[in-house]
Symmetry: C2
Subunit: 432 residues, 2 copies
């Protein structure tokens, strides 16, 4: 008997991370890491898919309401049809003419669509008995381009070009899958570098990062220049000359400030400067990149493929930082991976938060197998927070993500956490 | 005794406009014009401010939830303080670090902030006993720059440059106020041109528009090229050679399609092409503008001042189409008016929808008095829909907006409408 979708079961989950300054940076002094969580339930209680939007606290209830607004598009639909045509399913949600007005293709509504699409991919991978990266990596080039919405991309990437990229990457897929299974995928860690941490904690966590096998760490900057210089010197002393130190301003600066500040930090040779200014400022990123010696990275707040297209067209960045829950899910991220490949830029995903490590590892591994075919200059962010709440947490060994093997997208938060951290009535919050 | 804010009273109001194809275009076939409506209530029941976000139906409940999420920032606050420091009030909402994650500065959360800021301006103007345009037009240059958030703008417009623009425009303010009172502000009409209207209705409404004194009309295009050519010919025959016919593609095209389509329509000499592609595509608009002979207009979906800054820096448009409820309210629109003045581009606001005519007339009139000092090449859109629901509807005579004289921002929807069109329980909906 065929199954149908019965419910988008939404939950507002929040973690009181602000109590420890975990996640603190120049723009986000006191985040409470949160997930607007959705379970796509079906007429078979054993078959459901999990997805979420990562937020940092207030407004998580608005994000949940946006996810709920998508229920009429899916509830009652035949599950096989929805999952068999994930390109069409995605386009139907993204291009709903009335909901589109609330973006278009940006912000709360777009992220809600991303959560639901990701939950459907989780379910599709579970049903296939495969981890998501492998499900995607074993799809044909023709099936993969069908997932992509080329609207607004064709001046930079046509369907035919995308097909060529994917076809050219077909030879060697099996070898690269073996390579992933044997050696995992390189990571870097942001754990030492939160702005609210003391110098002692920074030094200690930096040393631990090296001992744990990481060859790249990242520090938050942009609060105060003298502090940033001191903190970079402390970190450099702790990690030695060969470990890369990236820095992240979290959108703190205007264009002239970014240029002046990064020129002042240049002697410390930062590996990249992340989010030097507004994520909307394509021309600003291009101007900054022209004026400084440090490579530029951005993307965690870049809201859709049209913005990534322009960042690449304008040669405004060196590293493409995709995010698993900012854009409209797996489908739009495949478009962005293809754009990055077309323009020859490495993808180094944003992670951390709640479950972003879990989700995004699948996209990088898929990229390695079936799109770029390369790990050169590519690293996935890793932050050692909140993984204990996931049914199948990301696993790091010697500074590398191990390959997920459990069927699905690794999105599932365990039931006990979903109960305890539910806002505002779960016991973690009602006790406060 | 001093007053304080007691409540953000939100309502989901929807009008069943899709039944008549009113508002139909190439991307929005069946809008139900809606307002996520907010009344900022105070400890004096006689003193409240009205604002809203215009949406086109589904998702209006998400927009309402986002407005409600702002209540903790305002409820309990001293009203005099909030209204005396509207620059600071605006920045406190826009830069809430946790809510900002949901944009940043875009989409549902940003529009919600706009509605609340606009409601506060409505209240401030009511208390001053002045229509909003006049309240703004009588503020000093120093007070006006204090309203603007220059973050991310300083590579294009500094506070000092803005101050110079406003100071240079001070002489003649009184004369221009008199000029406005005597002759109003020029309008154009979109009433004839909805895509769902028959050829006969298009011709009849086009003739009526000329008879009503309009010297510019606008047609929706982008569904089918042969239809667009036929419809432009019908409209041209109806209005004669001297009335401008602008066209609007509502984001229908990719960049290459926009160029080809507009070159095919060029013989009909459209006055402008509006929204030829994604509103996010700054470089795409610049490429289209370079390749066609028709001037380019955009802005109703441009989500913040950073995007307008770049459209101007990239010389990507000829007409700046501000929208009263897309960005973060009056304050951010003042920033955009200043940017347009700096780059020498005329502002021709988007209107229509629900109450957009009512709101945006204040911004154009303020611009004329205190910023650009000019009506040259400037027109405010007008659509003859839904004005009957407003307490002080926009008034058009001989193709011009008459100057609003009632205190406030003209945002107030009458109580009976707020009751009847409340979704889904108002009688207009519960009867369906």
């Amino acid at each position: 008997m065929s199954l149908h979708i019965t419910e988008l079961d939404c939950a507002d989950l929040r973690f009181p991370t602000s109590a420890e300054s975990d996640g603190s940076d120049a723009m986000n002094p006191d985040p409470d890491y949160s997930a607007a969580y959705v379970i796509v339930r079906t007429s078979d209680p054993e078959q459901s898919g999990h997805g979420f939007v990562f937020t940092i606290g207030r407004g998580n209830e608005v994000q949940s309401a946006a996810i709920q607004a998508l229920a009429p598009h899916l509830v009652g639909m035949d599950l096989d049809t929805v999952l068999a045509e994930m390109g069409e399913t995605s386009r139907r949600l993204v291009h709903d003419s009335q909901l589109r007005w609330l973006g278009p293709e940006k912000g709360v509504m777009h992220m809600a669509i991303g959560a639901v699409i990701n939950a459907l991919w989780d379910l599709k991978a579970r049903r296939a008995g495969l981890p998501l990266w492998q499900l995607l990596a074993e799809m044909s080039p023709e099936e993969l381009v069908e997932l992509v919405d080329f609207r607004y991309l064709t001046d930079a990437l046509t369907r035919e070009e995308a097909l060529t990229i994917l076809t050219d990457a077909e030879p060697g897929r099996a070898e690269r899958i073996e390579q992933l299974r044997a050696g995992g995928y390189p990571a870097y860690t942001t754990t030492p570098g939160w702005l609210g941490y003391s110098d002692e904690k920074l030094a200690r966590l930096s040393r631990e990062a090296v001992a744990d096998g990481f060859s790249q760490i990242k520090l938050k900057v942009g609060g105060n220049l003298a502090d940033d210089q001191r903190r970079m010197a402390i970190a450099r002393a702790a990690v030695g000359p060969d470990v890369r130190i990236a820095v992240d301003a979290n959108q703190r600066w205007d264009v002239p400030d970014a240029i002046a500040w990064m020129n002042a930090l240049a002697t410390h040779q930062p590996y990249w400067i992340e989010e030097p200014t507004s994520p909307d400022d394509i021309l600003g990123h291009a101007a900054i990149r022209q004026a400084i010696s440090t490579p530029v990275a951005t993307g965690e707040h870049v809201h859709n493929r049209v913005m990534f297209k322009q960042l690449l067209q304008a040669d405004a960045l060196d590293f493409v930082q995709i995010d698993a829950t900012r854009v409209a899910g797996v489908n739009e991220n495949i478009a962005i991976l293809l754009l990055a490949r077309k323009y020859g830029k490495p993808v180094c995903p944003h992670a951390g938060g709640v479950g972003l490590c879990e989700l995004v590892q699948h996209l990088s591994m898929f990229d390695f197998v079936a799109v770029s075919g390369s790990m050169q200059d590519r690293v996935i962010e890793y932050v050692d927070h909140l993984h204990e709440h996931f049914a199948t947490p990301a696993v790091i060994r010697d500074g590398r993500y191990l390959v997920p093997s459990t069927p699905g997208s690794s999105a599932e938060i365990v039931p006990l956490t979903r109960q305890r951290f539910r806002f505002p009535d779960g016991e973690e919050w009602s006790d406060r």
